[in-house]
């Protein structure tokens, strides 16, 4: 499933990154690559963005940006 579809509390492994371009490159640089463990912490009060944890740090990204990340829960 896509990271954007995950609910707070869910955790799993990234299986792939979809697409190309600067956004995707940035995501990968920040550690979102296949094989990385990732956990969804919460959504913002207005529903967006979402906060995740990976590689010992916390990252916030918009749901539309999380559409590029495939995960397996």
């Amino acid at each position: 499933m896509l990271l954007s579809e995950c609910r707070p509390g869910q955790a799993g492994v990234i299986t792939g990154i979809l697409g190309n371009g600067p956004l995707v490159q940035r995501l990968m640089e920040m550690g979102l690559v296949a094989g990385t463990r990732i956990r969804v912490l919460r959504l913002a009060p207005l529903g967006d963005p979402m906060e995740v944890e990976l590689h010992d740090y916390f990252l916030s990204l918009r749901r539309s940006e999380a559409d590029a990340v495939e995960v397996e829960i």
Binding site: Q25, E29, P45, R62, E65
Partner: protein, 724 residues
């Protein structure tokens, strides 16, 4: 050939939030200087490690794959391709021991550049408390570069780092222990043989499609560089999603495998930061808490600044009086020089310095928010809302600050990651009604808006006051959308943002930041405001028609001859004020007012209002004192009886045809003009500094003035039609 100077240069680079500033401060102390790199909006920060060794603090970045010209700056400095300055002799990468994987991404890229490199592994105490322990010696072997452990905010390891830097200047170039995936390596060989260029920049140009590295290389190397790069990328895409994906995958895999033996983890419970966030950015309570915190801080700033403001105003008033006393009895008494010093320089500079306490408190508030980590949470909470205006949540704090004063707000835009969003935020910040507009609003409202109640319990005056703030906001929103769409070019905004761990702000680093920013403000305000104050003074002082002087001298003579005591003193005082009024009305400024009158008639203004508005272009609060003088009330400004007197005069002012000058629509149009116009030299100076461009600064001034004019026009015409 010019012998290069003996100064060795050491660049410092690292992810944001790694304590890079602490280390830089610890190594350079107060020798640090901040300036601007020409052509980009990022600051240039340098300092002295020891005489002969200069430290350059490069902007925090996650990767050398620059996505914007600002990020490209670090790359160019490291490649020795910036302003003819040679490449640094050594690079220190500050890595956060608690997030080693991500930090080493940048470190491995830096190592590839081929300069002597040292890694400072900071915050090992925090790592320790999280159950992460790092074998720095082993790590150093794996990476092929020295690794120094530091705890910068406790000044531990800093001496070792300094020693390592001194020794490191003679290190050989590091050898990367990782190999590039075959598709990339193959294309690199092709490109190298075809174009005779090689190495880091070429590989970055290949991987970062349409990025700054490609642009730089294409401009340097002839031939069809771009075409060749495109071809290479297409061939790579036969084997993988993209060259960037190959790089990321290679790097992360190598880092994971190479560092695994040297990083031990013991499982710990949920982190403190996460538990704090459970409260502060709670799905339901997060926003109310946020609004409360922001409101409380904001109100405190005004409350704490007030007594200091009064002190400064009192000081400058006293200074003016002292100068007059000093000059009494000298040939300068009552003359042009005295006036220039007292009414031009002292009043002008004093006026802007009165806002210094508020500005300093804002710097304090912003610095604490940044350092403790809550700033990122504010952006997280506000992002969805700001998306509506095509901005991101990072614009919230800068724009909020601008409601007190745009200068700190504009400086705070540095935290906005996306260059395009940052520019747009800078350009709309002056729309947030700042404290200097309050005297204008309250004067107009007190004088002309009836103290009535709407619906029995809502005070009209209060509502209008509040509405003025919304005028700015409602102008800023379409401005932001249009600016972003048509005028401000750059990469698409993304909101991928690290949420740093909460930490107690370091008083020293907060203090240094406030000091440095205040120094900048004073220097900007000092020069621009000083210059503008003298100019405005001169335009309001000259020429001094002899007839006016003669007329009032006659009146004065008559009073001195025929009156005594208190009555005499009062009359002389009145004559003095009327004379000042007559002079100012006959001055260049007055003539400008007359000249502009046809232009401001559609706004419902007369020439005096036009004149006072023009006079307040350096600093909007000047309008109050200018109106005082024009209406023969002398230079006293502001509160109490003097304000009542001004209100009385304004209310009584009549045009030639007997109609009142100031009607409600006129008052509203004046307020709307001031709400939308950028009448502040300090703000323009701040915009110039942050955008590094006279073009954008003058554009802001012009477009806001035009908008202010149209707004005032519409309000007056519609208002008169409705009330008429």
């Amino acid at each position: 050939m010019i012998t290069p100077t003996a100064t060795r240069r050491v660049a410092i680079i690292g992810n944001p939030n790694t304590g890079k500033s602490s280390i830089f401060n610890a190594l350079t102390g107060l020798s640090q200087k901040v300036g601007n790199y020409p052509g980009v909006t990022v600051e240039k920060k340098t300092g002295v490690l020891t005489p002969g060794i200069e430290l350059i603090d490069l902007p925090g970045t996650y990767s050398l794959a620059a996505h914007s010209p600002d990020e490209m700056l670090a790359v160019r400095v490291l490649l020795g391709d910036h302003e003819g300055e040679p490449a640094p002799d050594l690079v220190v990468v500050i890595a956060d021991a608690t997030t080693l994987q991500r930090n080493l991404y940048l470190a491995t890229q830096v190592i590839e550049i081929g300069l002597p490199t040292i890694i400072a592994l900071n915050m090992i105490d925090v790592a320790d408390s999280r159950g992460i322990s790092v074998n720095t010696r082993g790590l150093s072997k794996a990476l092929g570069v020295p690794v120094i452990a530091t705890i910068a905010n406790r000044r531990l390891g800093v001496e070792e780092l300094r020693e390592a830097i001194l020794g490191g200047l003679d290190l050989p170039a590091p050898l990367p222990g990782w190999t590039w995936p075959e598709p990339i390596a193959r294309e690199m060989k092709e490109l190298e043989s075809k174009f005779g260029t090689d190495g880091f920049l070429l590989r970055r140009a290949l991987i970062d499609e349409n990025g700054p590295a490609e642009a730089l290389l294409a401009s340097r190397v002839g031939g069809d560089m771009r075409g060749a790069l495109e071809g290479a990328r297409a061939r790579i895409r036969e084997h993988a999603p993209s060259a960037a994906a190959l790089e990321a995958e290679m790097r992360h895999r190598w880092i994971g495998e190479a560092t695994a033996p040297y990083v031990q983890r013991t499982a710990k419970g949920r982190r403190r930061t996460e538990r704090i966030d459970d409260v502060l950015i709670h799905r339901i309570f997060g926003l109310p808490i946020f609004i409360l915190v922001m409101g409380a801080v904001f109100i405190s700033i005004f409350a704490w600044a007030a007594p200091f403001m009064d002190m400064i105003i009192g000081f400058f008033d006293g200074l003016g009086t002292t100068v007059v006393e000093l000059l009494a009895g000298t040939p300068f008494a009552g003359g042009a020089l005295e006036s220039m010093v007292v009414e031009g320089m002292i009043a002008g500079v004093g006026g802007i310095l009165a806002f210094l306490p508020q500005i300093v408190f804002l710097f304090l508030f912003i610095a604490i928010l940044e350092d403790c980590g809550y700033m990122a949470r504010a952006a997280f909470l506000m992002d969805r809302l700001f998306r509506v205006f095509r901005l991101s949540g990072s614009s919230f704090i800068p724009l909020l600050s601008s409601f007190a004063c745009a200068v700190p707000g504009i400086m705070a835009t540095r935290t906005i990651g996306n260059a395009r969003d940052r520019m747009v935020t800078v350009l709309i910040a002056p729309f947030m009604s700042c404290s200097a507009r309050m005297p204008v609003y309250s004067l107009m409202i007190a004088a002309f808006l009836p103290a009535r109640m709407i619906a029995g319990f809502l005070p009209l005056q209060g509502l209008i006051f509040g509405a003025m703030y919304f005028v700015g906001i409602f102008a800023a929103i379409p401005a932001a959308v249009l600016l972003k769409r048509f005028l401000v070019k750059g990469p698409r905004s993304t909101f991928v943002m690290e949420m740093p761990a909460y930490k107690v702000p370091n008083p020293r680093s907060v203090g240094i930041r406030i000091l440095e920013r205040s120094r900048t403000f004073l220097r900007q305000a000092g020069t621009i405001i000083f210059a503008m104050s003298v100019v405005v003074w001169a335009l309001g002082y000259f020429p001094r028609p002899a007839e006016i002087g003669a007329r009032f001298d006659e009146e004065r003579g008559h009073a001195e001859r025929t009156m005594i005591g208190a009555e005499r003193a009062e009359v002389l005082h009145r004559i003095h004020k009327e004379e000042a009024g007559a002079y100012v009305r006959a001055s260049f400024l007055g003539r400008a007012g007359h000249f502009l009158e046809p232009a401001v008639v559609p706004l419902g203004w007369d020439w005096k209002i036009g004149m006072a508005t023009v006079a307040s272009f350096p600093a909007r609060e000047i309008i109050v004192s200018t109106l005082n003088i024009i209406y023969d009330l002398g230079e006293e400004s502001g509160d109490g009886d003097e304000r009542e007197a001004l209100i009385g005069k304004l209310a009584a002012a009549r045009r030639e045809n007997g109609q009142p000058v100031f009607t409600i629509p006129v008052a509203l149009s004046i307020m709307v003009f001031f709400a939308l116009c950028c009448q502040c030299g300090a703000t323009l100076a701040a915009i110039k500094r942050e955008t590094n461009s006279w073009r954008w600064t003058s554009f802001t001034f012009l477009y806001m003035t035009v908008l202010a004019y149209i707004g005032a026009l519409v309000v007056y015409q519609v208002g008169t039609a409705m009330m008429g």
